[in-house]
Subunit: 94 residues, 2 copies
């Protein structure tokens, strides 16, 4: 498990995942789909990435809107793991 | 779409779903599982119920903990649909 990233390093990573919002100790991206089951397909694809990476984002589902939140709870902040998983999630839709 | 329930009617329904907590205009139940994929199996089962009922609860996934929140947004409160879906969700685990 990597350690938390310094501020300038977070800023550097944020440029690679510009669709994500940096909020205190976490990053968040909202994904909107045309219908509920398309959102659920996405949720299941994220779950596969999460299991593979052994790093599990919080997911908040509200009909076809899915919010993904990443942080490294064990470390109390953002680590490389968060940005690696964010990059993989982006590749599902972008 | 049924109309919102009067206070005494909500109280009556709450006795049928005692594991749920009544919070203002919604009801919530937290489900905890042994591992992440067990939680995801549950989420998918809830999604099937939601599609079948055309009534979609919010779901907040945090590792193996899944919070389900039900309200009827169109009506601004609790309706029979919420309690019918809650009962069906309970039947998945109880």
């Amino acid at each position: 498990m990597p350690s938390t990233l310094a501020h300038d390093c977070v800023q550097s990573w944020m440029k690679k995942v510009p669709e994500w919002e940096h909020k205190e100790n976490q990053i968040e991206r909202i994904f909107e789909f045309d219908d509920y089951m398309s959102g659920m397909d996405f949720v299941n694809a994220v779950a596969e990435i999460a299991e593979d990476a052994n790093h599990h984002p919080d997911m908040n589902i509200s009909y076809a809107r899915v919010a993904i939140l990443l942080t490294t709870h064990d470390k109390g902040g953002l680590t490389e793991s968060d940005f690696e998983v964010a990059t993989r999630i982006d590749s599902l839709v972008d």
